[in-house]
Amino acid sequence: MKRDDLRATLIACLLDVAPEISGEEVEDDVDIRDELDLDSMDILRWVQGIHKALGIEIPEEDYGKIASLGDAIDYVAGRI
């Protein structure tokens, strides 16, 4: 899967969790918890969405590795 496709998939999963935000406002290099006002429940739902969409199970201890969208794309790309 191309990086652009991965990015679109991760953003789609994010919008399922927080439909109030605009996909265009998600930048690659900012902490999404702070930038999008997400809490731990939102992050868990995002991780569950990624699992459903891509079949990748992200363990809790790796949450720090998906702090930004760019980090998450790198992480998921390395697991596919």
Partner: protein, 448 residues
């Protein structure tokens, strides 16, 4: 016959707009059915009915804004004797602790009527010495300075309806300061009523100074309504101001070692599928609900001048809305079911709160609210109680701190918890015991 009334979906709500009927006359409804959508400052709320029967009349049209307590529909049951009515819009009946009705109806000639946290009971229909009207109608009459004794009711058995009161109030307004009636055409009268125009400010240009429809056109239109966000903020402001003015708060604080709970949670999540993971917030929520079981004085609401005990352990969850706003719907019976079930219910509740799809019972049933700002890094929260609730629990961030365990200083994750409670209902000693129970429960997460 029971009346389905506009519910009070929070202490700050004075009126609501009937957005949509989900039933029609003749439909059979059962306890817990969602029969209408009401638009409030907190969004669109699905309103449940807590009586069973057949819809006999829909009294308010879609799009109409009416005060809290206004009858919206009449629900009848074949074979039910008219006169003894029990209708609820906001959850099942809580037990009255004080024994007195939380909201009394004044007037020596009033019907034996009482309101108890959403339960409305009317006395015998034909055995009255004074005008028969619901508490809401009496309240509205008082607001509009209308004497019920001067009215003849158009409702069943001569009962005075909201419409009777509004009509009388309007008639009063159609009088000049001298007491003489203002001359006005029937069409202009209807128009003025629809647009809620105060006719004392209107000069008639018709024969003899009569007011016509054209005179009303010159009356400036009301300013545009606030945005939903502004309305919500105003509602929050009203509720918090009331809480600060009326509730004698006291606060007690405690720091809880979360090491055992977080270790248990980590192991549980490690051995579970991604769809069965829990967040620490669900442990806090369950612990608060279970602690309430042992401290029932905190599981209540303050209604007027008395305490009404909760009918279950319904914990409000403060949910911030992205982009502004705050709602605190209840997770009903949060002491029951597995943690996994509670997690699913909490996720659903938060999602619906943010989507503006809450139910009336979720906004009216909490007795205590849980607020957590820990994820935003604050160490402690000193929260304000949501009236008519009697307590609120605030959690700060779970932070790793030096902690003494078995006379040794070790690094432990700890959380500062603050209980804010109503001193009319409980005292600091009881509050401290509640926090002690909360601590003990969190030391045995496997039992939660």
């Amino acid at each position: 016959m029971a009346e389905f009334i506009m519910p009070s979906l929070g202490a700050d709500m004075t009126a609501g707009t009937l957005g949509k009927w989900l039933v029609a006359v003749g439909d059979r409804v059962a306890h817990g059915d969602i029969i209408a959508e009401v638009e409030t400052d907190k969004g669109t709320i699905e309103v449940e009915v807590f009586t069973s029967g057949v819809i006999e009349a829909l009294l308010v049209e879609e799009g109409e804004k009416v005060p809290v307590g206004t009858p919206l529909a009449e629900i009848g049951e074949a074979g039910t004797e008219s006169g003894t009515v029990s209708a609820s819009v906001s959850g099942s009946a809580p037990e009255s602790v004080s024994g007195s009705a939380p909201e009394s109806v004044s007037g020596p000639a009033s019907a034996p009527v009482s309101v108890s946290a959403g339960i409305m009971t009317l006395g015998g229909g034909g055995d009255l010495n004074g005008p028969m009207a619901t508490p809401a109608v009496r309240r509205r009459a008082h607001e509009l300075d209308v004497s019920l004794h001067a009215l003849s009711g158009s409702g069943e058995h001569g009962r005075i309806t909201q419409e009777d009161v509004e009509r009388a109030a309007f008639a009063n307004r159609v009088r000049a300061p001298s007491g003489d009636r203002v001359r006005i055409s029937p069409y202009a009268k209807r128009l003025a009523r629809q647009r809620q125009i105060d006719l004392t400010d209107v000069r008639g240009t018709g024969p003899g100074g009569a007011i016509g429809a054209r005179d009303l056109e010159a009356v400036p239109a009301k300013p545009p309504a606030d945005s939903p966000k502004e309305r919500m903020q105003r509602a929050i402001a009203a509720a918090m101001t009331r809480a600060n003015d009326e509730i004698p708060h006291y606060y007690v604080e405690h720091t809880i070692d979360m090491g055992t709970a977080l270790e248990w949670l980590r192991a549980k999540n490690q051995s579970s599928s991604v769809n069965e993971r829990l967040v620490s917030g669900v442990l806090l929520l369950r612990a608060v609900a279970r602690a309430l079981r042992k401290h029932p004085q905190l599981n209540a609401t303050w209604q007027g001048s008395g305490v009404v005990r909760g009918d279950g352990f319904h914990v409000g969850l403060a949910v911030s809305l992205r982009g502004g706003g705050l709602v605190a719907p209840a997770l009903r019976d949060a002491d029951q079911g597995s943690l996994l079930e509670l997690m699913a219910r909490m996720t659903d509740l938060v999602s619906r709160a943010r989507a503006g799809a809450l139910r009336s019972s979720e906004l009216t049933s909490p007795t205590i609210t849980l607020t957590s700002l820990g994820e935003r890094g604050v160490e402690s929260v000193t929260p304000i109680i949501f009236p008519p609730q009697v307590a609120i629990v605030g959690f700060g961030a779970i932070l790793t701190r030096p902690w003494v365990v078995n006379d040794r200083i070790v690094a432990r994750p700890v959380v500062r918890v603050t209980l804010g409670a109503d001193h009319r209902v409980s005292n600091g000693h009881q509050g401290a015991r509640f926090l002690g129970t909360l601590d003990r429960l969190l030391q045995e997460p496997e039992k939660l």
